[in-house]
Structure formats: C-alpha cells, structure tokens
Symmetry: D2
C-alpha cells in the first residue's frame, strides 16, 4: 500500500512562525506526514515541541545531527524521506549539507544560506548528492503567478519592456527588536541573517518572483539601501533600479519600515503586446491589459487559463486560496517529484524553486549591498 512521504523538521519549535507554516503547507495535500523533528537547539524545547505536535517520543530529537544519524539507521520504509529546514538563515547550510550527505532530500527556507560562499558550496553538494533540493519561494506557488508566467512564456505579452516589483512591510517601523520580539531580533542581526536585512528576508522573494514570472534574469542593479531603525546595521529598506537581461528596465522597492503595510508583495510586467499585475494580498486576481481589448481579470479556475494555472487550484473558482495553499504547492510539486524520483522516473523540469534559485538569491543580496556601498553604481548580479 502506498504511503505518504515522511518529513523530518529542523527548527520550527514552539513560538516559531515559519515552522508552523511549513507544517501546514506540507500536510495540506495529504501527501506528506511529519514523522520526526529537531525543533530547537535546546533539546528540551525540541522534545516538548514534538510532543505537542503528536510525534512519537523516540522521534523527537535533541539536535539535527542526532536526527539525521538516527533516522539513517531506521528501516527505509520508516525513516524520513527528507528534511525541512526552517531555522534562521545562519542555520541552513550545515543541516542541509549533512542531510544531503547522509542521503536525505532537502526542503529549505530562504534565503538559502548565510553567505554566497555557502550557497555555491551547497549547490555543489546538491549536485554531488543526487538528492532533490527545494527552496521555499512560496509565492511562486499561487495559481495566478503560474498563469502570469505561462502568459509571458507563451508570448502573450510580447517582448517585456518594464517591470515594477515591490515587497513592503511595516512591522519593523519601530525598534521592536529591542523588546525581545523573536522574529525581529534575528532578522536585524548580521550574524544570523547575513549581509542583507530586508534584502534577504523579502528582497529575495521579490527578485525570485520577477525572474520567475518574466523568465528573465536581472542583469544589473543600482541600489540605495536605508537603515532607518535606530542602531540597525542591516538594511530595513531598499530602493533599486533594475536592468533585465533582455533590455527591460524597472524598479524594485522593498521595505520593512513601510508603516502600515502588512505583506504587500506586488508586481507589474509590461510587454509590447500586453501587461499584467499581481498582488500577494489579493492573490486570486491577475489583472491584465491588452493593446486592443479591455482590461481582463483572470481568477483561479476561471475562464481561459493555462494548464499551469488550472493545475494548482484545489477548490472551485471564487473560493479563495491563500498563503498556506501556495506554500503547499511548493511542497506538493516537490513531493510529486520525489515520488517520481523514487520510482526512477525523471521529470524534465520540476516546478519548484531549487538550489539554483538559492544561489541566485544570494548573488542578488551581494550585488545590492555592493552597489549601495558604491553609492548606487550599476552592479552585475552574476558577478
């Protein structure tokens, strides 16, 4: 009898935000079961978290190292298939490396690593391991993002000329990191976040989204970063100019001090024949414009969609899916790929972000920080 895929989680213990998101996202399609976890660097917290999550006691581990080694010893049909890494940025590389080198596939939160060097090394490790690696750029999982990409890929918009992407939040408007707020404190700390603040936390999502939808790489960028919160050393705001590899131009605006903004990721793409617009906070609409037609709004399971969009909806038109569902689509596509891989089948182009996207995200952070240091000089993202 077929069995669900088995997931072991690293990080995401009590009080974590993203751990719970990953668990819900992984379970939503009924294909994945969490069977074990090392939820905290504090062994007691880890074990208490596992208990609260209904795990068997012997599979609540005190550390990720222990988990990887012990699970490896379990029978193949019991041990975890993959790890899901949901720790802060500085704790991505080591568990990912160890998991891969011990035969486990990996799902990892973004940004992929603490440094660009780690990212490149990890890319090599993945290649050598032959294991799958998914990076949770979750926003690419929305049906209307799939539709947007499919429209560009099919040439409906013609040659792309202009892009506008923003990712605006306001939760760091005040210095809440000084109040001990857990989410804030590691994000403003270069030791745990890396050289990018908002850049890493949300800028990489913006970068990934614009490249995913347009199918174009950002060739170079000019960045003006802000550090508005008192005493912050990392950027909490960024304004960027973009030049895409095909000659398109654009802007990126990211912020965590945009007071009042909740999670305002939005993108506009203008081509020679059409244009499109998508807003994460209202994700079930894709607004499009056309040379000789009125504005059209596409909706999940609505009329005239590409299969890429139709396939990822779980419920009928008009029944809104949200953040967790899109996140779940990353897991679902990863799971389907893994099932095929287990059966020895190959999927030509799995539709989820991979280690390549992770390297790209780190290069983006590095280019933006470098440009900002050079007072906004145009800087190649691939350099």
């Amino acid at each position: 009898m077929a069995k669900k895929l088995r997931m072991g989680m690293i990080g995401g213990g009590m009080g974590s935000f993203i751990g719970d998101v990953h668990r819900k996202a992984a379970s939503i399609d009924g294909m994945i079961e969490m069977v074990c976890g090392a939820f905290s660097s504090n062994p007691e917290t880890s074990i208490a978290s596992g208990k609260a999550l209904f795990l068997a006691q012997d599979r609540c581990y005190a550390s990720f190292e222990e988990m990887i080694l012990k699970e490896k010893e379990l029978p193949e049909d019991i041990r975890m298939d993959f790890v899901s890494i949901v720790t802060p940025n500085h704790l991505h590389f080591l568990p990912a490396k160890m998991a891969l080198e011990n035969g486990f596939h990996v799902v990892c939160d973004k940004p992929m690593t603490l440094t660009l060097e780690e990212a490149i090394e990890l890319q090599n490790i993945v290649a050598k391991s032959g294991k799958l690696f998914a990076l949770t750029h979750n926003y690419t999982g929305h049906p209307m993002v799939k539709q947007a990409r499919a429209m560009v890929m099919n040439g409906d918009l013609g040659k792309i000329r202009k892009v506008q992407v923003q990712y605006l939040q306001g939760w760091l408007s005040t210095s809440i990191e000084k109040t001990g707020q857990k989410q804030a404190s590691w994000r403003v700390d270069p030791k745990r976040s890396g050289i990018g603040g908002a850049l890493g936390d949300i800028g990489t999502h913006a970068e990934n989204l614009v490249e995913y939808i347009t199918g174009l790489k950002i060739d170079e960028l000019a960045a003006d970063l802000g550090r508005f919160g008192k005493g912050r050393v990392l950027d909490d705001d960024g304004n960027l100019l973009l030049r895409m590899e095909n000659g398109a131009k654009g802007t990126m605006s990211i912020s965590q001090i945009a007071l009042g903004e909740e999670n305002n990721l939005a993108i506009k793409v203008y081509g020679e024949k059409g244009s499109l617009e998508w807003h994460q906070e209202n994700p079930n609409q894709l607004i499009t414009h056309w040379l000789n037609d009125p504005l059209k709004v596409f909706t999940p399971r609505g009329n005239n969609l590409y299969p890429e969009a139709l396939n990822v909806s779980r419920i009928p038109a008009g029944h809104p899916e949200g953040y967790l569902e899109a996140f779940g689509t990353i897991y679902k596509n990863f799971a389907n790929h893994l099932i095929s891989a287990k059966k020895g089948k190959t999927i030509p182009k799995p539709d989820y972000p991979t280690v390549k996207d992770g390297v790209r995200g780190m290069k983006f952070i590095y280019a933006a920080v470098l440009s900002d240091k050079n007072n906004g000089t145009w800087t190649k993202v691939n350099s």
Copy 2:
C-alpha cells in the same frame, strides 16, 4: 502521549468536491487524522478512494453501516472518534443517526437534512446521544466574520436596522446538469436535494451568516423564487425580503444563475452607530463605517481586533487565509471541544455551528418555499 483525533469519512470519494475540502480542512491544524472511510455507495469506488488517500486497506469500508459497526468494535484508542458526513443532502440523516446512536460524534455538511422532519428528529437524537454535532457553515470560520460578530455583540454598531446579504453564483447559468456534471445533477434533483435548490445549497449559508453576525433571528420573510434553467423544478434563484426579530429589515439575494459570479457571498449590516461589510471572495478585509470617523478596514492580525478574531488567524497580517482555513476553523473548534469533552471539561459555548443551526436552516428553506408558493406572503421562519 497525546494523539490526534481520529476521523472517519462518509462520502467524498473520487471526483467529489466537498470531500476533499473536508479532508484538507480537518487536517490543516494537525489535530485530526483521517483513519477510515466509506467514501462511496459503490464499494469498489469507496475502497479505491481510501487507498488513494493512503488509508490502511482494512479501514476502507464498503458502506457507512459497515464502517460504523466495525469501528465500534475496535479498541477505543484506535477506533474513529467522529464521522464526517460529506454526502449529498438525502444521505445526511441516516448516517448521522446511526453514528450518534453508536457512540460517535458527528460533523455534517449543510443543509443538515433532506426534510425539516428529519432535522427535528436529528436534533432529538443528538440531544439523547450526548454526542457533539457540528454543521459545516464554514464561512463563520473567517477571522473577519468573527470580528464582525464580536463588534455587533459588543454593541459597537448600536441597534441593527438594516441587513443586506447575497450569495451569488453563476455556475448553473446553463443546463450543465444535462451534461452529466456530477455536482449539478444532484443539486437540481429534489430527491437528493430536498425542496430547496439554491435555497438549500447556498441560501442556508446566507441565512446562517446573517444570523451569526447579527445575533438576530430572521423573524419572517417574503420570497420570490426563480427557476430559470430549462426544466428545473427547484429554485436556482431567489429574492427575499427579511424582517429580523428586533425590527431590522433587509434583503437576501441568492442565485446560481447569476452569470459570471463565482462565489459571491457578501453581507452588509447597518446599525445606529456603525455599519460593516464583508465579502467572502476578499475575506481578509472587514469594511466598517462610523458616525464620526472615516471608513476603517480591519484585517486579520491587524490593529484593534477582538480576541474572537485574533484567535482564529494562523499566520501574520497580510498573509491571506482563505476558504480552506475558515473551513478548518470549524474543525479546529469542534476538535478542541471534543478534546475537552473527552477530558470531561465543559466548554460553555462552543464556537461552531451545531444541530440547532441545522434545524434553523431547514426552517428557513421551508419558510421561503412556502412564501413563494403564496406569491410572496410574509412567512414566519419559526412556524
């Protein structure tokens, strides 16, 4: 070690829409595990469905009767805790009755039964059984619906004067029931749907929502039903006037032939001091008006919310939750109540729709059909 609650499903096999919704909703919070099912009146379909859902073979049953009887024989810590009934309307009563009488709690889709008589009988059965019964009026699970209700209950809007509720769909605009479309064919068939068409399928949601948010019963109504699809004997459209028990007045518009509408459930409530507006297709906004203040829009996990609203969000502000999450909240609240009940604790007022709401829904359908027969005469809902 604590264990998840165990659910057995009745109905919802391959090709079903709502079965999958219930499964996702039940699992989203990690408190409930589906352990068995009788997914179809066709035994082979039932068993194949169970397999595809990763169930153990011996818990894929050929019929709901078999399931209830066999599960009853299993050890208490293995057998299902409750059944989830996701069949068409005519197949709600019997499984619910049998489950309750054999010691199982019940979650049931709406409308609760085929006839009002069944509904009243079921209410008595529930009372006698001492078991829990949840009816999945899922839209009451949205954070902003909770906020709306809390605002009314706390008197923020003052005395309610006017309500406007609509539930508009367009999927029955053409006679798709004649093409063999499964969802359509039973909904237009009085043997499987009962005396209400759109009234039962979506009108009961509208009725439940207006009564839930305002805390007021519909006292009487005047109905003008339409049967626009060729050959349809059940209503596929309805226009109603409402009088609430406190003297408020209003309208209800429901339709499944409102071409282009996807799932447009919306409500406005006007009081002497404030008013509010909520739209299911954009569920993460609650629009409010006030005598001496500008329009305010409340959002999940945003500022100035009541605990009733704050408590039901799973993710931070700006990360949209949708249909499945709200549906899941019905299951979560039911699960928490069940856990308390198992421990012998009492929850004073569990926050999920119960058998009472189910009886009320049936009375609503009957009153509307009667009023329509009498050319729109005002008809009491409680009669």
Copy 3:
C-alpha cells in the same frame, strides 16, 4: 454669430445644494449661459443670489412668475430659452406648467412632481406645448451607464434574468432634520416631498437606472418600507422585490439611514450570456462577466466601447469624470436637442430623461407606498 443657449433658473439660491450642481452641469460644455433667475421665494434672497452669480441686476427676479412674464417680453435673441427648476418637489409643477404655457422649454429636477396627478397633468401640458422637457436623472449621463445600456440593447448579455439595484445613503441616520439642516428638513416633510421620502429622493433614481440600462419596465413590485428616524412619517429606508416585464426578477434596496454610506448607487444585471455591474461611487468602471471569457472591465474612452459610451466622454481614458460631468451630459443632450429643434430639425430619440420618465417615477413611488400599506403585496407599477 451663434450664441449660447440661455437658461433661467428657478430655485437654487444661496445655501442650496442642487442649484449649484445644475449651474455647473449646465455650463460645463460651454453651450449654455445662465441669463436670469428667480432663486428663492424670498425676493431679497433671490436678488442677492443672482448678484453673487454675476447676473445683470434687471434679470434677478423676485419670483418665478415675474421671471416668466418679463422674460417673455424680451426680444427673442435675448430672453431665456428654457427654465431650469431646482426647487423642492412641491414647487416643480407650477413653474413648469407656467413656463411651458408661456413658450419656454423646461429642465426639471426629480422626482418630477409632488403627486402622480400633477405628473400626468404635466405630461399633457408638455404634449400640448410642443416644448422640450428634460428630467435630470443625472446618473444616466455616465459613459459607463451608456455602455451598459448599449450592451443590453445590442443583445450582448442575452435575455435578462436578474437585476439587483441599490441606492444607499446614511446622512439621515440621525435626526438631523431636527437641527434645522435645510436639505433634511424638506425631504422628511410630506407637504414638500410628497408621499415618498427616500423613495422619491433616491428610489426614483434607482428605478430609472434599472429601466434605462435594461430597457425593461418594472412590471410589479413588493415593498417593505422603514421609517427608522424618530418621528418620521415618510420612509427613510426601503426593501423591494422587483418583477420586470420580461420575467426577470430582482431586488431593490434604498436607504438614507444606511450609516456610513455616502451615495452608494449600484446596479447589477444578469443575462443568459453575460452580466454587468456599475457603481456610482466608482463610475469610470463597468465590470462585466461572460460565459467563456474572463471578467472584463470597460473604462471611458477605453477599448471596445459602443459609440453611445465613447460619445459622452470629454477627456481621455484614465482621467476620471464624475457626478457633475454626467449631470452635464443631460444638459448637453438637452441643449443639442433644443438647438436642432430651433433649427426645425428632428432628433428621432433624444438621449435624456423626459416627462415620461417623470410620470414613471411617480407611478413607482405610488406603487411602492401602496404595496407597503398592503404589507408587501405585489403591486403593478403601471396601475
């Protein structure tokens, strides 16, 4: 050399709301010049108002009777061409009658008269006079309302099945008439307003709009009127069921106690092939749905419009026109008709509301009041 048309105004002195609206609307297209006025029943106020409006002193009249008689004596190329009547309802009939019988064309605010009897008499007077008569149902002047009507008339929506119209305001939520607020005090007074309160003030707009866009008459209605403001004898709220002459059904909701609503006139029309939706507060969008196409939004001067819509925009796409411009279109179309009439040309079907619409509005009010008295009995509008 061609000259502007000359307008004399009756009512609309200092402190008036609608008089100023008419003046701006009449002048916006540069075709009409106000040359004289009797702005108030108080002669001093009238003359002071005229002065403030830059009128010549000898054409500021003490009463409408004086104005009509004196203007009649002026040379043809100097005297006014038409009167614009902007007084409260009870002061529409007499000035209109006198103007028509003395050879002047008439523009009149709505509802047309105080009573249905007056309305019918006025219709006869207009017919006998051979003069033009325009009623300012201003909302029919919006480009997107023109587009909506053209789409229905051209069969794009197929047979109409369902309509939903609302006109919601909140400015009478509290008893401001008791504070001496001028706009409120006459509207709640049957001697000045007639038998309808909100019905006459805004309900007639809703009735006119639904009949204008669909080209269908309301055959019968069932009304439940509210009088929520303390001591009010006229309706300040109304909920109605509608049956259109072709079998379509619908609802109408009107209110002046819908707290927080500003001027929320909105309409939805559902046909067998398409549907449309228009909102007065966001008048430059026409939202449409289609059987096999995504949602389309039409905008003034945008793509794929009918000439009827294109012709009434004054400025390019994306430059919002509003209330005054739509109001001005009534005047412009009236002015063009008048110019043709002066030249002896006939316009087959002038596009502005006429005395017929005025009679229809009064019949609507009477039917609604009668139905309400009979506890919501279906009542013919033509009876």
Copy 4:
C-alpha cells in the same frame, strides 16, 4: 455689479485636448469667462475655433501677439484679465513673457518652458511684472491631495522616511506618432517638447506631487531612462531613485509605454507614525495606515478632514469629482487670488502652483537627463 474674470486663451484650437480641458476647468466655478483667444498659429483655424466657442468675432485673434496688443487697448472693464497658455512646450515662454510685460496675468500649462534657461528668465520676468502666474499642476487640486498634504504638514505621519511615486501611461506603446496623431507627434519631438519626453509631460507632475504632499524637495536623483519606441530620441520611460532633503528615500517610475495603463499617477508616503496612499484614477479616496489603528480611508466631505480638503469639494460626499474639477480648483484659487490682488488685498500663500514650481520642474527634467547620461549617477536637482 461684480463681473466674472475675463480670460484670453492662447492655443487650444480645434482638435486640441488640453485647451478644452482648460476652458471647462476655468468655467466650472462660474468665476471666469473666456472673452477672447488666439487658438492657433493658423489664423483661420484660430478664428473658426473662436466662433465655435461662441466668442464675438472681433475677439478671435489671428495670433497671440495681436491678441495681447489689441486687448491692451480695450477699456479696463472689457479687456481680458489674464491669458491662459495651452500650447505645446516650445510656445509657452514667448506668449507668457509678452503677456506679463503688457500687464496681463498668466496661467500656463506645464512643463513651464522649453529650456531651463527660459524658466529662470521667466521667473525674473514674473517678479519684475508684479503679475500673477499659475502653472497648472492640476493634480494638486484634488481634495484628497489637499488632505494628504495637510496631514503631512500637521505632523500626523511623523518624519517622512520613504516615498513611492509613479505616473504610468501606455498610449505611446506603439509608434502612434508615425500615424500623424497630433498629441503624440509633438511630445516625441525635442524641438517642441524640450530635452524631456515622458519626463516633461508626466514626470514633472510626479515630481510636483511628491514635493507638494510631503513639503520636501527632492535633493538628488538617479535616473535610468528608456527610449523604447522605435526611433524615439526622447525618453518614453523612466526609472528613478530619489533622495529627499530630509533623508527620506524613494522611487519614481514614469512611463508612456506601460501598455494598458491609462493615467496611473499614484503616490505612497511613509512616515514614522503613519502613511498614506493616493491614486489619481480613483481620486476620491485617501488610504492611510497608522501605528496602532486600522487602515482608514478618507473621502471628500467625509469625516475628520482638514479644512484644506473640505474647502475644495463642490458637492457632497459620495458624489465623485474628477479630473476637471481638480483642474478647476487651480483656476478657482488663481481667480480668488486675482480678485484679492485687484482689490489690493494680499493673500499670504496662494494655493496654486506658481512660477517657482515651474522652475523646479525644469530642474528636475535637467537633473534626470543628466543623471541618465552619466549612467545613473546621483545628481542634485538644485544644481
């Protein structure tokens, strides 16, 4: 008896877009009368245009020079008070200079001149003349823009940290200048437009709006301009980074090749205590966010407005005003200032854009073009 102010128009003959806008805007409040014009450099067109506009034949002039000289000879109570210049950019300076030097006040379209040198010279001429000069940055006339500025000036938003402004159009997506389209052909021609294309036509509006609302000057900018239309030598697209004088940072995106955009001017301003957002295409809403309050939407004549906003609405809440009304407010404020000036009264700070704004706009264009030439180097706007 008081008389309307008398306007003479330069440019804006048949087929012009903006001439008609100025005429409607000037007349909307009944304070200004157009008495003469030189509508075209072609004398016949000029005179035919004047006739069609109901002007007396002897005040339809063959050239602006003739108009200025002949009007000067007319009696003071007959001759025009001011000229309104609505020609393409290269024909602003000369008529403005001549009008001012002959004793006439001036209203002028933007950008103010063809070159920065002209702008600075014009500033001196205005100063020397003692006459009034208004520049029609019409978007500052909207009630919600006034409210936005008042909120910033009153400190409601705290210190401004971030701005985001865009002005997006799509009408030059294709090379319509090659089809002889009149509006397009001069805008892409440096001889008539100056060194800025989209920069001058719409960028100056964006620049003016951000400085008007925030009360802050743009200190320096980095620009990346696009010339996407085949053969275009002027920019038709621009992406800019902004640094405001107080340390705030931001982006500006302008385009006339943003396919499908109609007239999408929009601005967001983020402060330490609040933020705001305004969209020209939906101008009757001001969206605001606050640290500890829910989102609030302000509307014209709605609750809690500053007098600066209340004063500029002409009609009640919910009755949308649009482009022409805002434009008219520039004229109205100019007219009121002129009336006071005639009476010898001084208005401390007239609320309409002046020659200073015109110089500023030209400096903005020059800085952006220079930065772009230097591959996006940060460039001072005041240099």
